[in-house]
Symmetry: C2
Subunit: 603 residues, 2 copies
Amino acid sequence: MQVPLLNDRDIEFLLFKVFDTADVLCRERYSEHTHETISMTLQTARNVAEKYFLNHYAKGDAQEPVFDGQKVTTIPETKAAWEAFAEAGFFSATCDFGEGGMQLPYIVMRAANAYFYAANPGTAGYCLLCIASADLLETFGTAAQKSRYLPHMRSGRFTGTMALTEPAQGSSLRDISTKAKPFGDGTYRLFGQKMYISGGDHDLTENIIHMVLAKTECPETGKQGISLFICPKVQVNDDGTLGARNDVALAGLLHKMGFRNATSTVLNFGEQDGAVAYLLGELNQGLSHMFQMMNDARIAVGLFATASGYQGYNYSLQYAKQRRQGRNSGASKQPGGGTQVEIIEHADVRRMLLTQKAYVEASLAMTFYASVLFEDSQSAESSAEREAAAALLDLVTPVIKSWPSKYCLAANDLAIQVLGGAGYTRDHLVEQYYRDNRLNPIHEGTEGIQAIDLLGRKVGTDGGAVFARLLSAMGADIQRGLAGSATAAIAASLQEAANELRVVTEHLLEDMGRDREAVLANASVYLDFFGRIFAAWMWLKQALSAAACLNDSGTTQEHEEFYRGKLHAAMFYARWELPKFKREAELLTGRYDEPLAMNIEWF
Amino acid sequence: MQVPLLNDRDIEFLLFKVFDTADVLCRERYSEHTHETISMTLQTARNVAEKYFLNHYAKGDAQEPVFDGQKVTTIPETKAAWEAFAEAGFFSATCDFGEGGMQLPYIVMRAANAYFYAANPGTAGYCLLCIASADLLETFGTAAQKSRYLPHMRSGRFTGTMALTEPAQGSSLRDISTKAKPFGDGTYRLFGQKMYISGGDHDLTENIIHMVLAKTECPETGKQGISLFICPKVQVNDDGTLGARNDVALAGLLHKMGFRNATSTVLNFGEQDGAVAYLLGELNQGLSHMFQMMNDARIAVGLFATASGYQGYNYSLQYAKQRRQGRNSGASKQPGGGTQVEIIEHADVRRMLLTQKAYVEASLAMTFYASVLFEDSQSAESSAEREAAAALLDLVTPVIKSWPSKYCLAANDLAIQVLGGAGYTRDHLVEQYYRDNRLNPIHEGTEGIQAIDLLGRKVGTDGGAVFARLLSAMGADIQRGLAGSATAAIAASLQEAANELRVVTEHLLEDMGRDREAVLANASVYLDFFGRIFAAWMWLKQALSAAACLNDSGTTQEHEEFYRGKLHAAMFYARWELPKFKREAELLTGRYDEPLAMNIEWF
């Protein structure tokens, strides 16, 4: 059964009705683009994704990459997909025209990427990492570094990775033990092992440019710091040809539950003389530099999660419209019992579909909202606007990363349940979406890490000023919502929740001054609480736009149904999902301490 | 990393402290058994499970059974496990001594089986199906039928299946189309296709006895009914030797996300002259007869789910005690930062472990409670007691099937999260538990089917009299709980919830008279609501027993910690999980109708 990638209608709605992409197109940098060229770009993305990525989604899962001790072999479709992505220019989508790029708005680039994530997250993962590491080089590289690597990364000749994690530490980056030793000629030699490095080896390209965190020691003070390094798998000569093989060796592939077509690797740096590496950016600023890529990747994870959730929804929706089974309770009372009905006729199946819709469409809106902020942080007119957008993005990043990861996985669970026994077989893709999506609450910072980041750091930034701005943006939408008959109830429920979000947050920030550990112990509850309300805001935004469109006399029947669906899903979310915030507020302000108080010996 | 199967201490606690197995042993049928012989039996089960089942848990997943068009091949360990199970006498555990059985109480047999489910659910699935189909034959078979098949099923020479589902119907059994035609000699010929038949073919034994539902037609009236048939893969001669191959053919194996070492099959009956079959029990009573096996299987599913959940908990607990990572927030402020701590030191990891504990130990208690009821329905002294127990069991069966299926899967999700990236690799078993466990909310009646069964049928049985008895049993424990200082808070929260369970149920039963469809539309919410409160009762029972044991002067330090853990987990459940019932009560009594009201065109 083949189903559409995402929903073109929904993407159009988000880009041009809910968020103001038309306004972005008015910015000078994007003056060559129009609504029409954007639509064509998205269509290209969808076509390439369908033809070159979707074609091996199941195959790449069944035939995962193999390492024979010498080299890694992926199925050939992966390389073909990589090349098609490069050919279509998506590696340099946001680069200047002058550099051969499309000079595309970031928000459009992200929307385009969503099609690839939906078609084949494993294969698309290689592309994402290459783009994000090229962007890192773009920001922090010297002119010489850029000219040596960037053209090849933007053309798809080389891939890129981010190499942070090590076997003895996962979430705790300060504990890495990989060493970078100055070689005396301005270069460094790396010694250490990195683990869970996605795309750390493969046969897609002739070279891989690793972005590696390693410890450096100040020769005078002996003080250690973490710095960021460029470490190519193969040295690159001045003329762009390849030089000697670097001292980076694949120790092995990790075999995963899902996301199998993307290699996850253990890499040994410096088993012989040390891996030749080049400092990227400033010494001892490695973590801070890396966070550019990490934050990008966190938003991308939210979008990956959304895409898999969306595909499960699409799949189970189509199945439910076709599969006949049982009767509705009215019919069963008739003589003869009537014929079986499509399972979408059953209220419980509709509940499972509506819940999926509520989760995945809120997630898509959320990731687009993050893209708008990113766009503004780059291209808004004034520096004040750019800084304000960047600060807001920083605040919501843990939520954008984690809410879709949790709830789109829950959506995938429901997609399986809609199919019943069929959903548990590998004849249908829903089980693969579920396995693939299970990665997202883990990588690029687990849920627990995001929670501590949000409560322990982000909401308190600038004495809570950024958080206050978020609430005020929410408040503005609430006021608009309260004024409309179709949205008043939705807005009213968000108003109550947003108020509680403010009260609880203030309470916790104050409490943290007294007992940080006890408050942070329930940070995961806070993350869920925050995300739940944030998602409700995304639904209010969609409801507002849908209501406006319904009032537009030009709306066709088909579009009318789309908008009514948005309003109904928003109402469902407001009544079924949002109210759970009350219980979470109780747990948080009452500082329920059972987990913290549990003795280890009692387990 | 190898972890214990379940927790012997917990099983002992449930059998002899929470539930009154000592009392069961006083019944005449069990007079040969003592606490000691029971413990030895359980130890045998654990040993056999560890040696012959656990040994190929991962292997049977990686090398699932293969069908070459002629025959099915499983890994050899599966057959060895089957034989060890037979050798140890577990196929006839509850049979009379006179028949070569162990005459074991059912509750002990179920506890023994739990070790096998924990060690290898796929392989144990073959055993379960054989026992349950033999029990069905025992109940409904003629003397001739019993003597022809039973000895071979009880000895492990033959296996058994339940063949209900068909491709064109899953949950809707009334729509099966497999036909049974009388052959004129008292036998029948079956024609039709069955799907998702677990253990429908394999290479463990020389014969498979299928229990098949098929439609029969009354020659006079033309009215169709569903009857139950015995249909052996190979005919069995009077002397027990095998006769001709029957007209039952394997059309193919289904390839699943998990539970892979158990074959799931499509079977064709009657591709040639018809599959020879024998009516089991009465004509047209097939569904009703089958429900004996189905109800057994539903309890077993609850126990399977529990076992996988429990193993994930054990695994992640042990991992969390060993893996060092990060620091607690106190330590990080010290100069130098201190060494990394075991991750169990982190409150969020403890939260994930405590949540798992709360889910899996409540689930185990729940399935044991069902076993107690089953035991009483068979061996209680008076027929009134037996009937009362049977009625209660009937009421709670949908909950016992579904609550562990949902929450132990949630526990498995948390187990993965505790391990982080490691949990997503196939180097650790937690991902397999998660994949295996995902079957349980589907088979033997999906969550939606259980929900309709509970709300649409069970709670209203006898005008609600059985439900009232359940509440009254709960009430008695609440009163005991309120009287103890360690349990008063737990009991008080359950008291509020139990009262709400009564009020909401009465409200819904009344409402259903007016608009059954609208009320049943939210049956899944009711199932969750009921299960949540039922699980809280299981925790109160455990808390009561733990408090009593703590007061016992003979309690050792190690046991004291076990009991304190029980009390703490009960409190955690009462404060973190139980209160969600309030929101569910609102949805139910307010009859929130968004799923029912969602237009199909709006999706």
